[in-house]
């Protein structure tokens, strides 16, 4: 196989580094964020079945442990009702974390750039 020369590799490395550095903000607010949001959305979609919320909601009126007496059904309904609430809360919390990650993703680039330059300039001025 034809091997590329070291100088060619170095040249491409420098060009790529410069290109990626300069285009980074543009990439981040186009494809980068789209990828992140796709992953977050898939994660959110899986969370409902991960926490079993769909199964618990579907079986809200189905007695637990085969207890078909009135008391059994009533207790089951109560337990399932609270479980649905608890699991909804867990799903909600998870969604909140995902939204938070999404929001951080949106602001992290300007925030970091601003912080970096602010600290750097501040240090030189002082």
């Amino acid at each position: 196989m034809t091997k590329p020369s070291v100088s060619l590799i170095l040249k491409i490395t420098i060009i790529d580094a410069l290109r990626e550095g300069l285009l980074f903000p543009f990439w981040w607010y186009s494809k980068g964020l789209r990828d992140i949001f796709t992953k977050l959305f898939a994660c959110a979609k899986e969370s409902v079945s991960f926490f079993g919320l769909d199964i618990w909601a579907k079986n809200l009126f189905v007695p637990m442990y085969g207890e078909t007496s009135f008391t059994g059904r009533f207790v089951s309904f109560l337990v399932r009702f609270f479980m649905v609430i608890a699991r909804s809360f867990a799903v909600g919390l998870w969604m909140f974390i995902l939204v938070l990650i999404g929001m951080i993703s949106v602001v992290i680039v300007p925030f970091t750039l601003f912080g970096f330059f602010m600290h750097l300039i501040g240090m030189f001025i002082s």
Binding site: M1, T2, I9, F24, Y65, G66
Partner: protein, 869 residues
């Protein structure tokens, strides 16, 4: 510019990757640069992170939770922000460079490549190619450039793939090295057209598109080097010829590649399965918590879904059709299913497959969030009487009906009805009652015989819908065995060649008729692996010969390739046989040729090795020839199954041959052949048998099999069947004495003399009708010499020598010759004159060790005294 494309969904899939040397060099450089940049960014991240941590440490870690740390300028802040920026940069770099494989087109089958004509959106299929496959194409260009070839052809692509790991596996499994095919390929490369720079030929472009098409058809994630390798092979007849020269035909080649695909699919499925198994409960409780504890059921059963989650069940291969049918029945009306198939065809594997699909919840909704539980009938009935067993079963059903998440599996459901006792009937009735009330439904298994005899017309038969599980064909069985080989190799530390896998299936299918594929092939492979591990050591290669040796030891049929000793023996069979049979050259030659054809696999596999009818007068050597073949080739005279057809003179005697109806034992003939499938069957004095008995042999001669009364099919394809008959003897003797030609005698016999005895269709089924000539005086003289040798060999064990004077031999031959009775009177004469005289001498003590008994004319003997110690 691409010339061909595959149209699909208003797009045109084409190969448009630049693969010349400068582009390849540039791609290599970009790949190296990308890795270098990743390394630099990671290094930077680590260094900056450490500096930031050190600076924060100096200020105190508490400070990072204060607003002033983030807002008031500090060197620590500079480095923290720089580290975050560097991390984001690394993330961006990796996201941009790590190749995301685009999803393959969703199609069962793509159209064949067509020439590009109209404008359409072009999709470059190289994006779907794995790195290995792309590198193979680059190597092909490189090869063409180095040789100065004008075109990159399928041959270049084929050579380009050889360096990849998966193709190295293909070569080693096929028992090949590149060196073995290097020479013809090298010669072929020399004949290519020269020119610069090389361009992709249309046939090579077709190979690339076909590889893509094949990958879509196989539903794999990307086009691997193996697809490229296979398509180059298919496209190039020269390559097929090269492989054929090494004993690998297209079917073997395709099956070998299927092995790779199966391996890849199993790995992929395992990954998906592990992910799905994470959320599948393993206990009695389902995810919706509607089920109840089932302690009694748990004590007498095995939870198959739990076993599947824990990875204890085998993966199912190539049984989509059966699974689909089972699901259709279940979905159709929640009906119970009984899988009817012979032992070893894969009923249990199918149920294990359903358990795995249930873990992945890739099943009809009626099976979702359920568990598959196999009840053990022996556990259920052990230690209790019938009524207690019924009581237990009722309790189990109570638990099942309360739990509502259980699908029952009952292996060998005929066990419940088999005893025919009241207790068994109660169990069956309990089961039927429970299932018909809709408590749940069940998957059961049974064999075809048991289904017909016990289940079909019982009450169980009414509630279970039958799904027939037939024995997989050889190709499917090879694929199933390929999926199991990994486990066997891991257990025994050996490596299987493809030939071994193929032979395990083909030879077991051909020679072992009492068990079924794929189980018998898996068992043979397992046994051979153990044997090879013991004899050849760790990492030894299991070859086709090893498999053949195990099958030979199990069946007694020679299946290994012909060795040097055997080759010599086969080539000199006539000489060996003439050591015992005098004259009758036609018969001896016919038998020897049949044996040679059989051993070199140049015969039909669905008929006996050979079937002969020996016609001739008594004492001409018909039976003797059969005995000689049994001794010289089959190892011993005991390998001959002899039926005196005079014992089969009425139609009822067929029961002795095939077994008495109602009994569980086969007949004399069927049992003998079942136990010794590689033997000679001698049907002596065939003309004496009842004509209806002869009809039985029509099927044997045609299909090489016979079914006994128990329903077992007995394989006759490894037998030589010789029938002897004295019919037409008078005509033969008269015709020979008139000096008629033997061919004419045979024609007249078949057309005239035998018409009243054998039906034409019966005679037609013999491979050869051989007429034994009556013995002449010269033949009898030679036979007398053989008899004298026999007498000498009998005395040899006593340490006494024996010699017959020539005049004595001539005299014996003359006196023993009778044109009507052949050599029979001679045998009696030798017994009366020679054996009696020797016996007297031995009893009188006149002949002792080291003495020599000499036979003189007139039947007299004298003793030559041996040396005294």
């Amino acid at each position: 510019m691409p010339r061909l494309g595959i149209p699909f969904a208003e797009k045109m899939y084409v190969w448009s990757m630049d693969t010349d040397q400068s582009h390849t060099r540039m791609r290599e450089a970009q790949y190296s640069a990308s890795r270098l940049l990743s390394g630099l960014l990671f290094g930077k991240l680590v260094v900056l992170g450490l500096i930031a941590l050190f600076l924060i440490y100096l200020q105190g870690f508490d400070l990072i939770f204060t607003l002033s740390f983030w807002l008031e300028p500090s060197w620590a802040g500079v480095f923290v922000y720089l580290t975050i920026l560097c991390g984001l940069g690394l993330y961006a770099h990796q996201s941009q460079t790590v190749k995301t494989i685009p999803a393959m087109p969703e199609a069962q089958e793509l159209l064949e490549p067509i020439p590009l004509a109209q404008e359409a959106q072009m999709i470059n299929i190289s994006d779907f190619f794995s790195e290995d496959a792309k590198k193979s194409v680059e190597r092909a260009y490189d090869l063409a450039t180095n040789f100065g070839h004008a075109h990159v052809d399928p041959l270049h692509l084929f050579i380009g793939t050889i360096d990849t790991q998966e193709i190295a596996v293909v070569f080693s499994r096929l028992g090949l090295t590149f060196e073995t095919i290097q020479e013809p390929i090298g010669r072929k490369l020399q004949t290519r057209e020269f020119g610069k720079p090389p361009i992709l030929s249309e046939s090579a472009e077709r190979v690339l598109l076909e590889a893509f098409r094949q990958a879509v058809h196989e539903h794999v994630r990307e086009v691997n080097a193996s697809e490229l390798f296979a398509c180059a092979y298919k496209q190039d007849l020269f390559l097929q010829e090269v492989f054929l020269d090494n004993g690998i035909d297209t079917v073997m080649f395709e099956n070998m590649l299927e092995w790779l695909r199966i391996h890849e699919k199993m790995r992929e499925r395992y990954k998906q399965f592990q992910k799905a198994a994470y959320s599948k409960p393993t206990g009695a409780m389902n995810r919706s918590m509607t089920s109840v504890a089932t302690p009694l059921l748990d004590a007498v059963s095995e939870d198959l879904t739990t076993a599947a989650v824990q990875g204890h069940l085998p993966m199912l291969i190539d049984r989509d059709k059966e699974i689909e049918e089972i699901f259709r029945v279940i979905e159709g009306g929640g009906q119970s299913v009984v899988l009817v198939g012979s032992e070893g065809v894969g009923k249990t594997a199918l149920i294990a497959g359903i358990a795995e699909l249930m873990v992945q919840e890739d099943v009809p909704s009626i099976l979702q969030d359920k568990r598959l539980v196999r009840i053990s009938i022996p556990h259920l009935v052990s230690g209790v009487d019938a009524s207690q067993a019924q009581d237990r079963l009722l309790q189990v059903f109570y638990e099942v009906s309360r739990s509502k998440n259980i699908i029952l599996v009952i292996n060998d459901i005929d066990q419940i009805v088999s005893q025919g006792s009241a207790g068994a009937t109660d169990l069956a009735a309990t089961l039927v009652d429970f299932l018909s009330r809709g408590g749940t439904f069940a998957l059961a298994t049974t064999t075809p015989q048991a289904y017909t005899a016990l289940v079909e017309r019982s009450m169980i038969g009414r509630i279970f819908q039958k799904v027939l599980i037939s024995e997989p064909d050889q190709q499917t069985a090879i694929h199933i065995l390929e999926s199991k080989i990994g486990g066997i190799e891991y257990e025994q530390n050996v490596i299987f060649s493809y030939e071994a896998v193929e032979k395990a299936v083909k030879l077991s299918d051909r020679y072992m008729h009492e068990t079924y594929l794929p189980k018998k092939a898996i068992e043979i492979a397992r046994e051979t692996a153990l044997q090879v591990a013991k004899t050849k050591g760790v990492d030894a290669l299991v070859t086709g010969q090893d498999i053949a040796a195990i099958i030979s030891s199990k069946t007694g049929i020679p299946t290994t390739s012909v060795g040097e000793d055997e080759k010599t023996k086969l080539l000199s069979l006539e000489t060996h046989m003439h050591g015992r049979v005098i004259g009758q050259d036609e018969a001896v030659n016919a038998i020897a040729s049949a044996l040679r054809r059989a051993r070199t696999e140049l015969r039909s596999g669905s008929r006996p090795i050979a079937t002969f009818l020996f016609l001739g007068p008594t004492g001409a050597g018909k039976t003797e020839l059969a005995k000689t073949v049994a001794e010289t080739y089959f190892g011993s005279e005991n390998k001959m199954i002899r039926l005196d057809m005079s014992e089969y003179q009425d139609t009822s005697s067929i029961n002795r041959m095939l077994g008495v109806p109602g009994s569980l034992q086969g007949g004399l003939l069927t049992e003998a052949v079942r136990k010794n499938p590689f033997s000679i069957v001698l049907l002596d004095e065939l003309e004496k048998a009842h004509p209806d008995i002869l009809n039985v042999f029509l099927q044997v001669f045609d299909d090489g099999r016979l079914t006994d009364v128990t329903g077992r099919t007995i394989d006759f394809t490894n037998t030589i069947i010789i029938a002897t008959s004295n019919a037409g003897t008078q005509y033969i003797q008269d015709a020979v004495s008139r000096g008629e030609d033997i061919a004419h005698i045979k024609t007249h016999l078949i057309e005239e003399e035998l018409r009243s005895i054998y039906r034409p269709e019966f005679l037609n089924r013999f491979d050869g009708v051989i007429v034994f000539k009556p013995l002449n005086e010269q033949d009898v003289f030679e036979i007398t010499k053989l008899f004298m040798k026999t007498v000498a060999s009998r005395l040899e064990s006593k340490g006494i020598g024996f010699r017959a004077e020539d005049a004595a031999v001539v005299e014996l031959a003359h006196r023993g010759f009778d044109p009507k009775f052949g050599a029979r009177p001679l045998r009696r004469l030798v017994q009366e004159e020679v054996d009696n005289a020797i016996a007297n001498a031995l009893l009188e003590g006149t002949a002792e060790r080291r003495d020599t008994i000499v036979l003189e004319p007139g039947g007299k003997i004298h003793i030559e005294k041996g040396s005294i110690l």
